[in-house]
């Protein structure tokens, strides 16, 4: 028995190991999705059409108005692009969509008896990296195209800050989706979970939340934080935001809060799974 224990010191640190496993799962998901993957150009065309919808929307409206609050047309176009890109980044956590089904089928058992964090593995095996790449690349191109078409230049620091906020916002929304998906331990695979999990279908991210009444704007910034996906990154990019650090801190605090909630729900969910006999 003692020889088994000694091997423990030869083990990797848990956190390092999971980082290392990310690479293994990236290779896995890349190969696994080969069959259902669309050709890159079609995927790009996809993304363009979706974003074009929002752009066309604003363009049409601006045929009738000159400004929307303090927003000009090209700013709203960039806002739309940011919105689309943020949802594609969320595909890193596409695994949350499948968790209710996997829990119902008992698929978590195979990870529970192996030296890997089950939640990590369930997410890692469904990462849609090609979607993420498509979004980032195409979004980047559209962004550059928009800025040059309208002849606007932006500062590098604003660009980095705005993209950073977009990332944080994406992660925060993914964590919220995660918490909702983990409700499956209590309510099974009820289809109303899907309404929230497929939030991007509603297209809420193409509207600037800051033109709304203060309380509503706050709701869409802190409770259902779509504001952090597109509105505030766009504001930061065009230098319209004076409280950058505060926004960032709030966004990170939000993300931390949902991560914490997620881990708590996972722990309780597994306990419930256990007491229900799996």
């Amino acid at each position: 028995m003692s020889d088994l224990r000694e091997e423990k010191s030869a083990r990797m640190n848990k956190v390092l190991k999971h980082l290392f496993l990310l690479k293994s799962f990236i290779i896995l998901t890349w190969k696994h999705q080969e069959e259902y993957r669309k050709e890159f150009f079609i995927a790009v065309a996809d993304f363009c059409v979706i974003t074009l919808l929002s752009i066309l929307f604003w363009q049409s409206i601006f045929g009738y108005i000159k400004v929307l609050g303090d927003w000009k047309l090209y700013e709203l176009i960039v806002l739309s692009i940011f919105g689309s890109v943020s949802w594609t980044i969320g595909n890193l956590f596409a695994g949350f969509l499948f968790i209710p089904l996997k829990v119902a089928k008992g698929d978590i058992d195979k990870y529970m008896s192996r030296p890997v964090n089950p939640l990590f593995a369930l997410l890692a095996e469904e990462m849609q990296l090609d979607e993420v790449l498509k979004g980032i690349i195409t979004g980047g191109i559209l962004l550059v195209a928009t800025l040059s078409t309208f002849g606007i230049s932006v500062s590098i620091s604003n660009l980095i800050l705005s993209l950073g906020l977009l990332l944080v916002g994406s992660f925060a929304i993914s964590m919220i989706k995660g918490v909702v998906s983990l409700l499956c331990f209590w309510v099974g695979t009820a289809s109303f979970l899907n309404t929230i999990l497929f939030l991007e279908d509603y297209g809420l991210e193409r509207y600037p939340v800051d033109v709304l009444p203060i309380r509503v704007a706050s709701f869409f910034t802190y409770i259902i934080p779509i504001g952090i996906l597109s509105t505030f990154p766009a504001r930061i990019l065009f230098g319209k935001e004076s409280n950058v650090s505060i926004i960032f801190l709030m966004a990170i605090a939000l993300m931390v809060f949902w991560v914490f909630l997620l881990s708590q729900m996972w722990r309780r969910g597994v306990k419930r799974y256990d007491s229900a006999g799996g």
Partner: protein, 339 residues
């Protein structure tokens, strides 16, 4: 619990109770549904009810019982997937549910239909991911792959996507995957379901060799007694959460001194009286088939007589009938024989 040196599993007064929502009467009205949502009634189910046993290194243990006996629950408890509600488990010096992460490096587990391998990709790619999960270095991994190829001939399967494999091929790959890290202990829950006779025997041979070559302790749960008879030297019979028999497979065979003969015909037949007199009991009898219990000493004569009968389509000799054995055990009281 002190670990005795060559006991790998020690289970004492183990219990697993869980709460299941009571099946309410069917309600189609909306009001009924809302009421049901708020007023859930639960009942307690004892899936595992006060079990004690131990397993020594290198044993090949069969765990059998009817559906709902608690076999899967027991395996999951031993694997650390479920936490006991009572009693204690000690496996290889670990408490499975508590030391889950560390403990899992030392066990291999195959859970029936739940696959270890990813569907669309070649087997070897799945193995690579598990290699990383179990922190196996490159050299050890290569040696292991060679070992599997040499011993079990599954190298031809490595580059085939799992979805293109037959059930038997898939099962062999699953077991290989679960043994990748050379664990001293392997659990299998219903590994032979849905397999034809040939595939089944390949799997059982596979495990026998693993056990003899590497001294791997194997615990296999199944509802098919024939598997256990062929493979295991020790058998545990579970029923309603308890172990009602724990002993050598040989002894089990002696509990029932009969065999069951199942015969099918293409035309209506009637059994000549010389044969039907040998039958102790008919389990099932139709105009085209029968299942009969025959005493061991009469089997050879009976079978050769049936084979001589016209219009015979199929004949099968089954060594044990689980329900009969369990009934007998209950009649004779709990049988527990120490070896």
């Amino acid at each position: 619990m002190k670990a005795v040196s060559d006991e790998v599993i020690q289970v004492a007064n183990l219990a697993k109770e869980y709460v299941v929502p009571e099946k309410p009467p069917q309600s189609t009205s909306l009001g009924g549904k809302i009421r049901r949502f708020f007023d859930r009634r639960y009942e307690r189910v004892r899936a595992v009810n006060n079990i004690s046993f131990s397993v020594r290194r290198g044993e090949l243990v069969g765990l059998i019982g009817p559906n709902g006996a608690g076999k899967s629950t027991l395996i999951k408890l031993l694997a650390g997937i479920l936490t006991p509600t009572g009693g204690a488990i000690n496996v290889l010096g670990y408490v499975p549910s508590r030391d889950r992460y560390e403990y899992s490096f030392n066990i291999g587990i195959v859970l029936g239909q739940k696959s270890l391998l990813w569907y669309n990709i070649p087997v070897i790619e799945s193995l690579k991911v598990w290699r990383d999960v179990y922190e196996i270095d490159e050299k050890a991994f290569k040696d292991r792959i060679d070992f599997f190829s040499e011993m079990f001939g599954i190298d031809e399967l490595f580059h085939i996507p799992v979805k293109k494999l037959s059930l038997g091929q898939r099962m062999r790959s699953e077991i290989a995957a679960s043994l990748l890290h050379n664990p001293p202990l392997l659990f299998l829950d219903e590994p032979t379901i849905g397999l034809d006779v040939l595939a089944k025997s390949r799997i059982l041979d596979f495990m026998e060799r693993v056990n003899s070559e590497e001294k791997t302790t194997i615990v296999i749960s199944t509802h098919n007694i024939d598997d256990v008879e062929k493979l295991c030297n020790r058998v545990l019979i579970m029923d309603k959460g308890r172990i009602i028999f724990d002993g050598n497979t040989e002894i089990l065979r002696k509990v029932d001194e009969h065999k069951m003969i199942v015969a099918k015909f293409v035309k209506k037949v009637s059994l000549p009286s010389s044969l039907s007199s040998k039958v102790e009991a008919f389990i099932e009898k139709t105009e085209y088939s029968f299942s009969a219990r025959i005493a061991n000493e009469d089997v050879t004569d009976f079978v050769s007589a049936v084979i001589d009968m016209p219009y015979l389509q199929d004949i099968d000799v089954r060594s044990q009938d689980l329900e009969y054995i369990i009934k007998k055990i209950y009649e004779e009281g709990s049988v527990k024989i120490e070896e």
